[in-house]
Symmetry: C2
Subunit: 254 residues, 2 copies
């Protein structure tokens, strides 16, 4: 087993960059995960994990069968260097980003489109919620937080390994969805119906937008229907991930 | 107008304690808010604001009518001392915690009960969601994050000034709700119906629980019905604030 004792080690420097910069994540198509639950979820996906790293005082609670995965022990100082959590569990993995195959695009019947949602926690919670609601994929348009940001991965709670995540042009994706027979449901305040007046359906794409500005007009113009969630109290809006949950469970009910 | 130039000023030390310690918030029944939107919401509630504090380079964009509110200018160093946000707007208020009158308890027909939810952001998002869904009050049982924690207040987005928040004994609150004719809906996995098989209703209390452990058994035993949100994908659970949103909009639909 390999052991790393210096925070100046080249691999540690690469991990640190993967944690702190979107550029490094996009260039390498890799990311870092932290904590038992996420590492276990990653190990279920063959070929996803490159290295497992653990702090010298931690026992690894699972068996490793894939011989291609390198296990690395680290000193406490090295583990602290790559930790992003308040209460570190001392276990990490260096992973490949799952890249969905384009061959699958035409099979997807339930999609979540996200336009310019900026908060990493919101993106992660939306990925988790889309997974729970049985969606086929999440499509992130321009202006969204990086889905492989450590905060996004943490709030995704393992769903990054369950549901395909694609970065793409939402205008093209809306066209493709309509061609494939999906109902495209935008969210907005103008000319919008109360969300519960539209029934559950087997093939749809839900379009959620930026925390402040909502969905861009250009995408709303392409949508088949626009819905809003009525506000019965004095709140001016709902959190975007909460709103996505309400709508995904309204239209995706089985 | 008063001006504060030292971070050692007694008032600054009190504000800092209100930001960092639950003890100081509970002892004084006060709290600190930050940012234009929250300060504007606080000013709508007569008697809520004790001081408005702004950084010397910031212009206050609203008129102040209540003469009982003291306005305080601060140096940049003092403002930095009491800021909790990444992009500070340089405006704050020192507020009294709104204390709901016990006379109102028997009038409330829609309640959100929260058992031991620990993340301040989740508590704040649930307060915001309960406000949006037109609930009458939010009741926090033991083990919950402090609702006047700065993170909770920030994710509440002003709803702390719209909806009554009570800390109480959930077992007593469940009894009171049932006596007042509310249907008490617990959330759990054992003996639970799919949430959408229970209809919207005019008088109910929804009981949400801890992020990991869910609702305590003692409270579930008191509930009239137990529901669960079906998981169609591979996610093991939903974020508790997202789940609360789905359920509040299912049972609270008008």
């Amino acid at each position: 087993m390999k052991r790393i004792e210096s925070t100046q080690n080249a691999l540690v420097k690469h991990w640190k960059k993967l944690i702190t910069t979107k550029k490094e994540r996009e260039r390498s198509e890799e990311f870092i995960i932290e904590g038992h639950h996420l590492v276990e979820e990653a190990l279920k996906i063959e070929g996803s994990v490159l290295h497992i790293m653990f702090r010298e005082d931690v026992e690894i609670p699972f068996e490793l069968e894939e011989s291609s995965i390198q296990i690395i022990e680290m000193t406490k100082a090295v583990a602290a260097e790559i930790s992003e959590t308040e209460h570190p569990q001392g276990i990490f993995a260096h992973c490949k980003q799952p890249i969905p195959s384009e061959d699958k695009y035409s099979e997807w019947k339930r999609l979540l489109f996200i336009d310019a949602v900026q908060d990493p926690g919101n993106i992660g919670t939306m990925i988790r919620t889309a997974d729970a609601a049985g969606m086929d994929a999440v499509i992130l348009g321009k202006g969204c937080a990086d889905p492989f940001n450590p905060k996004t991965v943490r709030s995704g709670q393992g769903s990054h390994f369950h549901i395909p995540i694609v970065k793409g042009d939402l205008s093209e994706w809306i066209d493709r969805a309509k061609q494939n027979g999906l109902q495209v449901i935008g969210t907005g305040l103008q000319q919008a119906k109360d969300h519960f007046t539209v029934d559950a359906m087997p093939a749809f794409a839900l379009l959620m937008g930026n925390e402040g500005a909502g969905v861009s007009d250009e995408y709303l113009e392409q949508a088949d229907t626009i819905v809003k969630i009525p506000l019965y109290g004095e709140a001016e809006s709902l959190n975007v991930a909460v709103a996505a949950g309400i709508l995904l469970y309204t239209y995706g009910r089985r």
